[in-house]
Amino acid sequence: MARTMETLFESSRPGRKGYALPELDVPAVDCGSVLEGFCRETAPRLPEMAEVDVVRHFTRLSKLNYSVDEGFYPLGSCTMKYNPKINEVAARMPGFSRIHPLQPVETVQGALRLMYDLSAMLAEITGMDAVTLQPAAGAHGEQTGLMMIKAWHESRGDTKRTKVIVPDSAHGTNPASATVTGFDTVEVASDADGMVDLDSLKSLMDDSVAALMLTNPNTLGIFEKHILELTETVHRAGGLVYYDGANANAIMGKTRPGDMGFDVLHLNLHKTFSTPHGGGGPGAGAVGVKAELEPFLPAPVVILRDGRYALAGDSERPRTIGRVRSFFGNFGVLVRAYTYIRTLGPDGIREVSEMAVLNANYLAKKLSSVYPLAHRGHCMHEFVLNGGPLKHETGVSSMDVAKALIDAGYHPPTVYFPLIVPEALMVEPTETESRETLDRFAETMEAIAAKARAEGPEAFHDLPVTTPVSRPDETTAARNPVLRWQFEK
């Protein structure tokens, strides 16, 4: 098999079909007479292929993919935990998979109950009062949350709050979501321990600040020790505090954002609650709020009325920010997350976080002799290694280490993030990995460092050698992106 593949457009041959239609036995309709000016004049240039070639194309592609079902995937900040197969069994039950969102509510009571109960469980886990399941993923959840924050300030006649504060270690989506929602972002510095600098935050607070966005534990895998002071500082100045739930896997059953003083949060069901993601399936970014913000939740809202589940639309929710997603979000993902929570129960959910933190600290300790930790002390569910010293000593960068890991059969950690650590390698092992897997990964990382010392950077330039394309030219791709097939070269 060739190492690289033809695209569907290259495989296409004029007239080749994957279907055979019977002769037309109804009167032909002239397109122009029905659609008038909207009839296209040339056929779309879709690939023409036989069914077998289409199937082979996508099967080959799937075999080139790397997934958590195949191996260890310590991609920091992404929580690539194993997705239990019982989730798939539940999601395929006909009562969930063979229904239509426009069916009368009396005929889909089970599906509505699942959404109602899942919202309640997520509210309990996070310490919030109400949850919407509409947003399609994390950044969408952030935007939904910020829209509610904006609506809340405006409902109080407070229209001068134009700023959102984000830490310098934040996920890139935080400032992006704030900008898309119409806020200016202001960065707050981290202190020497990698936590938000309280004095810097205080100096930024005034009546122009709408919210602080924070993830806790933060992107260095450190729990913000001063969290209550941070949220109180923002509240005292009239702002709200947003919790980016990307790192919620570290704290479930242990502490709750609602108890830390957060007003709005999102959870990535596709990270924390074990639904497939990363090219493997759509996400779901449930958003939770405190009671004060509840009237602004996106409508329709699933409610329980006289023992029956119903949908409360705009007319019953006059202050709603409106729909943020067609129908009810990625429903199949919600079924999987619900199944996960019900399978584990409260004790199991707590153990998830305990094991995630234990695994991260175990692996951090093992690796720290070769790659120093970016910050001192214990970590939560993930940690950041500093690849700077290895690069300085040997010329082998964190990118080279990542490429060598691919050849060793691993998905590399997140590299060059967070931005405040040069040559960062961000590792999140998750709770689902065995000690043997962690030991083998540590041995591989040690072997890579030894190779760097013995052979230098030249030995890494051509890695990876096991993939169809070795090193895509990221710089050219970013400077001159070609985003669709070019028919005419």
């Binding site: 890139g172 960065e187 500093n386 700077g388 010293p389 300085h392 060059y416 993030f417 931005l419 040069p422 040559e423 990221e474 710089t475 970013a478 400077r479």
Partner: protein, 132 residues
Amino acid sequence: MAKIPQDLRYTKDHEWIRMEGATGVMGITDYAQHAMGDIVYVELPDEGREVRAGEDFIVVESVKGANDVFSPVSGTVAGVNGDLDGAPELLNEDPYTNWLVRLEVADPGELDSLLDAGAYAKLVEELEAESE
């Protein structure tokens, strides 16, 4: 070792500024472009925009991530470097010739609070030692 011209003023966030009469010409330092890696996109502000010292008003994107650039002094954007449009790599090639923005500087006295070449060189030296 990063290049640090003697005749410029610097910020601790790795911007440089040079006065040409009442106008300040600013850009990012050699250390900054090297730390960012291959620069792939530069988002420049509109002319006429007013900025305060320390305000982020430019975004420089590299293959590693997006970085805010902060204004060294308060003032008004009097011009932007159009050469960078479609050629962001110029910042990697020579970050001192290839400036980002011209600023109508509100208070030239503010420049005194910026670092001189010696102080900035010391900062860079510390940072380089820290990452080793």
